[in-house]
Symmetry: C2
Subunit: 190 residues, 2 copies
DNA sequence: CTTAGATTGTGATGTAGGTCACGTAAGTTC
DNA sequence: GAACTTACGTGACCTACATCACAATCTAAG
C-alpha cells in the first residue's frame, strides 16, 4: 500500500478532509527508509521532526547515567513518535529514537505541522485527538506501573501487542517493562 | 480575583481571544464550591465535565482491588482535571476526583468544550497545547518511576511543588510517589 | 568454516521497599 | 472534656526484583 493511502486512512479515522485538502496535507511529509539499529533521534540532538511509521518498528527510549535503557514506546505502523518535549519546547533531545527493525517512515517538521494546524481547522482537531489518546494511554501505563508487578505488566503488554513477542529481543521488552532481562526471563521460565 | 479573570489570564498564556470571544467562551463554564474531602467524580460515574481549579487542591486517584490508593495528580489553582478516559470515551469512570482542601472550581461539559473547539479555532489550539503539555509531563513522570527510587522521586516532587509539603497529609504524598506511608516516613526520618 | 557478538537461561546473593503490629499525638465531634 | 478518628513514627520480618557470574545457543561477518 502507498504511504499516501496509509496516512489517508489513518487520518480519516478522526477527521474528514477533501481529497484536495489531504493532498495538500500530505505534501508536507517526506518519506525515509532506515535500517535495523539505525538512529533517528539521538540524545542531544535538536529535534525538528516527528515521525509516522509506515512499516517496521521503532522504539523511543531514555538512557540514564548508568547506561541503563528505559523504553517509552514501541512505534508500530500508523504510530507517531518523536521526542515531543524537545520537539515542542525547542530544547535538546533527552529521548532517543531508533529502529528495532528495518523501517519506512513519513516525517513532518514541527513548523509545518503548526502551519497546517493553523491553515486547516480539522487538522488541528486531528492532532488534538491524537495527543488526547496518547495522554490517556500514558496515564494508564503510569497506573499500571504503580499498581501491578512485572508479571502482570508483561501479560498486559503481550495482550496489547502479541506481535512484539517474536519481533523484538527480550531485553527490549524488559526495558519497556522496567525490569531486568534476568527477571523477565524468570517470569516465563519459572 | 474573579474567576473570569483567573481563567482569562490562564488562557491568554497560550492563545489570543478578543474580549467578546472570551466572554462567550467563559459563558460555557459554571462555578462550584466543594468542601474538603468531598467527592467530585467517583469510580463508576458517567463523566460529563472537566474541572478548572480556581482555589484549593484536588486530587485524582485510582483505587485498586485491595483498596489501595494511587494518586495520578494533585490539581492546584489553574490546573485542569477529570477522568479524561471516561470523559473522552464515554465509558464509566475508573478514576476518582475529590478535594484535598476546600475548593472553588469552574467546570465545562465535554460537549460544550467540543462545541467551542469547533466554533473557535483558537480554542481548539488551546486545548491541543494543554494536552501536549500534559502528555509530556506524564511521560516524564513515567520515566522517573522507571529510573529513580522513592527518595529521588520524593525530592523531585518537593522541588516541583514546595507548597504540597505543608498542605497535604503525608500518606497522600506517599500515594502519589507510589510507596507505602511507612517507607515515606523512613525516607525523611532516617 | 570460523570467530565474534548477540541473545537467553539460571544460580547465588544483596537490597529497597512492602506488610503487620503497635504506640503516640493531634484534631474533631458531641 | 471525654470519646473518636486521623496522622505519623518505628521495629520486625518478608518479598519482588536487582546484580553479578557463568554457560549455552544462535547469528552474522569474514
Amino acid at each position: 500500500m502507498q504511504s499516501h493511502q496509509i496516512l489517508k486512512e489513518h487520518i480519516a479515522k478522526t477527521i474528514a478532509l477533501t481529497d484536495d485538502q489531504f493532498d495538500y496535507f500530505f505534501s508536507h511529509f517526506k518519506s525515509q527508509s532506515f535500517k535495523k539499529g539505525q538512529a533517528i533521534i539521538a540524545s542531544g540532538d535538536t529535534v525538528e521532526r516527528e515521525y509516522f511509521v509506515l512499516d517496521g518498528c521503532l522504539k523511543s527510549f531514555y538512557i540514564n547515567d548508568d547506561q541503563k535503557m528505559f523504553i517509552l514506546q514501541f512505534a508500530m505502523p500508523t504510530w507517531w513518535t518523536s521526542d515531543y518535549n524537545a520537539l515542542y519546547s525547542g530544547v535538546k533531545a533527552t529521548i532517543n529514537v531508533d529502529c528495532v527493525t528495518n523501517a519506512e517512515v513519513l516525517y513532518i517538521s514541527n513548523s509545518d505541522r503548526e502551519k497546517l494546524c493553523k491553515e486547516i481547522h480539522e487538522v488541528e482537531h486531528f492532532f488534538r485527538w491524537r495527543t488526547n489518546r496518547g495522554y490517556v494511554a500514558s496515564q494508564k501505563r503510569l497506573l499500571s506501573f504503580m499498581n501491578n508487578d512485572a508479571k502482570h505488566r508483561y501479560e498486559e503488554l503481550l495482550a496489547q501487542y502479541p506481535a512484539l513477542y517474536n519481533m523484538v529481543p527480550k531485553h527490549l521488552i524488559a526495558a519497556y517493562l522496567g525490569v531486568s532481562r534476568e527477571t523477565l526471563s524468570r517470569l516465563y521460565n519459572p
